[in-house]
Protein backbone atom coordinates (compact mmCIF):
# COMPACT_ATOMS: atom_id res chain seq x y z
CA UNK A 1 0.00 0.00 0.00
CA UNK A 2 1.14 3.57 -0.71
CA UNK A 3 1.31 5.62 2.48
CA UNK A 4 1.89 9.38 2.75
CA UNK A 5 3.22 10.98 5.92
CA UNK A 6 2.52 14.56 7.01
CA UNK A 7 4.67 16.01 9.82
CA UNK A 8 3.32 19.19 11.45
CA UNK A 9 5.63 19.56 14.43
CA UNK A 10 9.30 20.34 14.89
CA UNK A 11 12.01 18.12 16.33
CA UNK A 12 12.69 17.53 20.05
CA UNK A 13 9.95 19.73 21.62
CA UNK A 14 7.42 16.96 21.14
CA UNK A 15 7.57 13.31 20.21
CA UNK A 16 5.72 13.80 16.90
CA UNK A 17 8.80 13.72 14.69
CA UNK A 18 10.08 10.56 16.43
CA UNK A 19 6.75 8.80 16.00
CA UNK A 20 6.57 9.84 12.35
CA UNK A 21 10.08 8.47 11.78
CA UNK A 22 9.45 5.20 13.64
CA UNK A 23 6.17 4.73 11.80
CA UNK A 24 7.78 5.38 8.42
CA UNK A 25 10.55 2.86 9.13
CA UNK A 26 8.04 0.26 10.30
CA UNK A 27 5.90 0.76 7.18
CA UNK A 28 8.93 0.28 4.93
CA UNK A 29 9.93 -2.84 6.84
CA UNK A 30 6.45 -4.23 6.29
CA UNK A 31 6.96 -3.77 2.54
CA UNK A 32 4.76 -0.72 2.03
CA UNK A 33 5.67 2.10 -0.28
CA UNK A 34 6.10 5.55 1.25
CA UNK A 35 4.57 8.02 -1.20
CA UNK A 36 6.46 10.79 0.57
CA UNK A 37 7.04 12.62 3.82
CA UNK A 38 5.83 16.22 3.79
CA UNK A 39 7.00 18.72 6.43
CA UNK A 40 4.64 21.59 7.25
CA UNK A 41 4.10 24.07 10.11
CA UNK A 42 7.07 23.81 12.52
CA UNK A 43 7.64 20.41 10.93
CA UNK A 44 9.93 22.15 8.43
CA UNK A 45 12.53 22.53 11.20
CA UNK A 46 13.09 18.76 11.00
CA UNK A 47 14.99 19.52 7.81
CA UNK A 48 17.44 22.06 9.30
CA UNK A 49 20.85 20.53 8.71
CA UNK A 50 22.67 22.76 11.20
CA UNK A 51 21.18 20.96 14.18
CA UNK A 52 23.85 19.44 16.36
CA UNK A 53 22.39 17.63 19.38
CA UNK A 54 24.62 16.10 22.09
CA UNK A 55 26.37 13.01 20.73
CA UNK A 56 24.37 10.62 22.93
CA UNK A 57 21.07 11.88 21.52
CA UNK A 58 19.47 11.09 18.18
CA UNK A 59 20.17 13.55 15.37
CA UNK A 60 16.69 14.06 13.97
CA UNK A 61 17.72 15.98 10.86
CA UNK A 62 20.45 13.47 9.99
CA UNK A 63 18.05 10.58 10.50
CA UNK A 64 15.51 12.07 8.07
CA UNK A 65 18.28 12.84 5.60
CA UNK A 66 19.45 9.22 5.65
CA UNK A 67 15.90 8.06 5.08
CA UNK A 68 15.74 10.41 2.12
CA UNK A 69 19.01 8.92 0.88
CA UNK A 70 17.44 5.47 0.95
CA UNK A 71 14.84 6.64 -1.54
CA UNK A 72 12.01 8.15 0.51
CA UNK A 73 10.85 11.43 -0.99
CA UNK A 74 11.15 14.24 1.58
CA UNK A 75 9.44 17.55 0.85
CA UNK A 76 9.62 20.73 2.91
CA UNK A 77 6.89 23.32 2.39
CA UNK A 78 8.41 26.49 0.96
CA UNK A 79 5.99 28.95 2.58
CA UNK A 80 6.32 27.36 6.03
CA UNK A 81 10.11 27.09 5.57
CA UNK A 82 10.50 30.77 4.64
CA UNK A 83 8.59 31.78 7.76
CA UNK A 84 11.00 29.78 9.90
CA UNK A 85 14.34 30.58 8.31
CA UNK A 86 14.81 27.37 6.38
CA UNK A 87 16.11 27.72 2.82
CA UNK A 88 18.23 25.72 0.34
CA UNK A 89 21.39 26.73 2.22
CA UNK A 90 20.35 24.99 5.43
CA UNK A 91 18.05 22.22 4.27
CA UNK A 92 19.27 18.64 4.77
CA UNK A 93 20.58 16.56 1.88
CA UNK A 94 17.97 14.40 0.17
CA UNK A 95 15.08 16.77 0.98
CA UNK A 96 13.52 19.27 -1.42
CA UNK A 97 11.87 22.59 -0.62
CA UNK A 98 8.71 22.86 -2.70
CA UNK A 99 5.18 24.23 -2.77
CA UNK A 100 2.14 23.01 -0.88
CA UNK A 101 0.86 21.55 -4.12
CA UNK A 102 3.25 18.66 -3.51
CA UNK A 103 1.25 17.78 -0.40
CA UNK A 104 -1.96 17.66 -2.40
CA UNK A 105 -0.35 15.52 -5.10
CA UNK A 106 1.04 13.19 -2.46
CA UNK A 107 -2.38 12.93 -0.77
CA UNK A 108 -4.07 12.14 -4.07
CA UNK A 109 -1.48 9.55 -5.12
CA UNK A 110 -1.33 7.68 -1.79
CA UNK A 111 -3.79 5.09 -0.50
CA UNK A 112 -3.49 6.51 3.00
CA UNK A 113 -2.28 9.72 4.60
CA UNK A 114 -1.36 9.89 8.27
CA UNK A 115 -0.53 13.10 10.11
CA UNK A 116 1.81 13.48 13.06
CA UNK A 117 2.04 16.70 15.02
CA UNK A 118 1.36 18.51 18.25
Amino acid sequence: MKIAILVLDGPYNHEASDTAYNFTKAAIEKGHEIEGVFFYNDGVINAAKLMEPPSDDRNIAKRWSELGGSGVKLTVCIAAAKRRGINDDVVIDNAKIAGLGQLVEMAVAADRLITFGD
Binding site: Y40, N41, L100, G101, A107, L113
Partner: protein
Protein backbone atom coordinates in the same frame (compact mmCIF):
# COMPACT_ATOMS: atom_id res chain seq x y z
CA UNK B 1 -0.44 26.23 -11.00
CA UNK B 2 0.46 22.63 -11.76
CA UNK B 3 -3.12 21.62 -12.26
CA UNK B 4 -3.83 18.42 -14.04
CA UNK B 5 -7.30 18.12 -15.49
CA UNK B 6 -7.17 14.34 -15.24
CA UNK B 7 -6.14 14.40 -11.59
CA UNK B 8 -8.14 12.08 -9.39
CA UNK B 9 -10.59 13.88 -7.15
CA UNK B 10 -10.66 12.80 -3.54
CA UNK B 11 -12.92 13.69 -0.65
CA UNK B 12 -10.75 15.65 1.74
CA UNK B 13 -11.91 17.11 5.02
CA UNK B 14 -10.04 19.74 6.98
CA UNK B 15 -10.88 19.23 10.63
CA UNK B 16 -10.39 22.60 12.31
CA UNK B 17 -10.34 22.07 16.07
CA UNK B 18 -7.72 24.48 17.32
CA UNK B 19 -8.34 28.10 18.31
CA UNK B 20 -6.95 30.84 16.06
CA UNK B 21 -3.95 33.01 17.04
CA UNK B 22 -2.92 30.85 20.03
CA UNK B 23 -1.22 28.65 17.46
CA UNK B 24 -0.61 29.00 13.73
CA UNK B 25 -2.44 25.75 12.88
CA UNK B 26 -5.78 27.25 11.77
CA UNK B 27 -4.01 29.88 9.66
CA UNK B 28 -1.54 27.59 7.92
CA UNK B 29 -4.35 25.04 7.65
CA UNK B 30 -6.37 27.56 5.69
CA UNK B 31 -3.44 27.97 3.30
CA UNK B 32 -3.55 24.23 2.61
CA UNK B 33 -7.29 24.52 1.95
CA UNK B 34 -6.72 27.22 -0.67
CA UNK B 35 -4.01 25.24 -2.48
CA UNK B 36 -6.05 22.04 -2.36
CA UNK B 37 -8.99 23.91 -3.87
CA UNK B 38 -6.77 24.89 -6.81
CA UNK B 39 -6.26 21.17 -7.45
CA UNK B 40 -9.99 20.73 -7.82
CA UNK B 41 -10.45 18.32 -4.93
CA UNK B 42 -13.75 17.66 -3.13
CA UNK B 43 -13.04 19.74 -0.03
CA UNK B 44 -14.95 20.36 3.15
CA UNK B 45 -13.98 22.18 6.33
CA UNK B 46 -15.33 20.96 9.64
CA UNK B 47 -15.23 23.30 12.63
CA UNK B 48 -15.30 21.48 15.96
CA UNK B 49 -14.09 22.13 19.51
CA UNK B 50 -12.03 25.37 19.75
CA UNK B 51 -11.92 25.43 15.94
CA UNK B 52 -15.28 27.24 15.95
CA UNK B 53 -13.44 30.34 17.23
CA UNK B 54 -11.87 30.75 13.78
CA UNK B 55 -15.37 31.75 12.66
CA UNK B 56 -16.03 34.13 15.57
CA UNK B 57 -17.11 37.60 14.50
CA UNK B 58 -15.52 40.79 15.85
CA UNK B 59 -11.97 39.35 15.99
CA UNK B 60 -9.42 42.13 16.30
CA UNK B 61 -5.79 40.98 16.37
CA UNK B 62 -4.27 44.47 16.24
CA UNK B 63 -3.27 44.40 19.91
CA UNK B 64 -1.33 41.13 19.63
CA UNK B 65 0.42 42.08 16.41
CA UNK B 66 -0.60 38.90 14.60
CA UNK B 67 -2.20 39.13 11.18
CA UNK B 68 -5.86 38.13 11.34
CA UNK B 69 -7.22 35.89 8.61
CA UNK B 70 -10.99 36.16 9.01
CA UNK B 71 -11.25 37.89 5.65
CA UNK B 72 -10.04 34.75 3.92
CA UNK B 73 -13.23 32.98 4.97
CA UNK B 74 -15.23 35.45 2.92
CA UNK B 75 -13.10 34.61 -0.13
CA UNK B 76 -13.51 30.83 0.16
CA UNK B 77 -16.56 30.89 -2.09
CA UNK B 78 -14.40 32.28 -4.90
CA UNK B 79 -12.16 29.23 -4.49
CA UNK B 80 -15.24 27.03 -4.65
CA UNK B 81 -14.77 25.90 -1.08
CA UNK B 82 -18.42 25.79 -0.15
CA UNK B 83 -18.79 23.01 2.37
CA UNK B 84 -18.22 24.72 5.71
CA UNK B 85 -19.60 22.52 8.48
CA UNK B 86 -20.04 23.61 12.10
CA UNK B 87 -20.64 21.35 15.08
CA UNK B 88 -23.66 22.65 17.03
CA UNK B 89 -22.49 21.11 20.29
CA UNK B 90 -19.04 22.77 20.14
CA UNK B 91 -20.75 26.17 19.79
CA UNK B 92 -23.14 25.46 22.66
CA UNK B 93 -20.33 24.17 24.93
CA UNK B 94 -18.57 27.52 24.48
CA UNK B 95 -21.62 29.71 25.07
CA UNK B 96 -21.72 30.68 21.41
CA UNK B 97 -24.54 30.68 18.90
CA UNK B 98 -24.92 31.24 15.16
CA UNK B 99 -25.21 35.00 15.65
CA UNK B 100 -21.68 35.08 17.12
CA UNK B 101 -20.15 33.80 13.87
CA UNK B 102 -19.08 35.65 10.74
CA UNK B 103 -21.59 36.08 7.96
CA UNK B 104 -20.52 33.36 5.54
CA UNK B 105 -22.49 30.39 4.31
CA UNK B 106 -22.16 27.83 7.13
CA UNK B 107 -23.96 24.53 7.56
CA UNK B 108 -24.76 23.38 11.09
CA UNK B 109 -24.82 19.73 12.11
CA UNK B 110 -25.34 17.50 15.13
CA UNK B 111 -22.74 14.92 16.19
CA UNK B 112 -24.44 11.96 14.51
CA UNK B 113 -24.56 13.80 11.20
CA UNK B 114 -20.91 14.80 11.59
CA UNK B 115 -19.86 11.20 12.26
CA UNK B 116 -21.42 10.30 8.92
CA UNK B 117 -19.72 13.18 7.12
CA UNK B 118 -16.32 12.18 8.57
CA UNK B 119 -16.86 8.58 7.60
CA UNK B 120 -17.41 9.53 3.95
CA UNK B 121 -13.97 11.15 3.66
CA UNK B 122 -10.89 9.62 2.09
CA UNK B 123 -8.44 11.96 3.77
CA UNK B 124 -8.77 14.01 6.96
CA UNK B 125 -6.31 16.81 7.70
CA UNK B 126 -6.14 18.08 11.29
CA UNK B 127 -5.51 21.79 11.82
Amino acid sequence: MEEDEDMIQKKMMFVMRKAPHGSIYPYEGLEVVLITAAYDQDISMLFIDDGVYSLKNEQNTEGIGIKGFMKTYFALEDYEVEKLYVDNQSLKDRGLSKKDLIDVNLQYFNRDEIKKLMDEQEILFPF
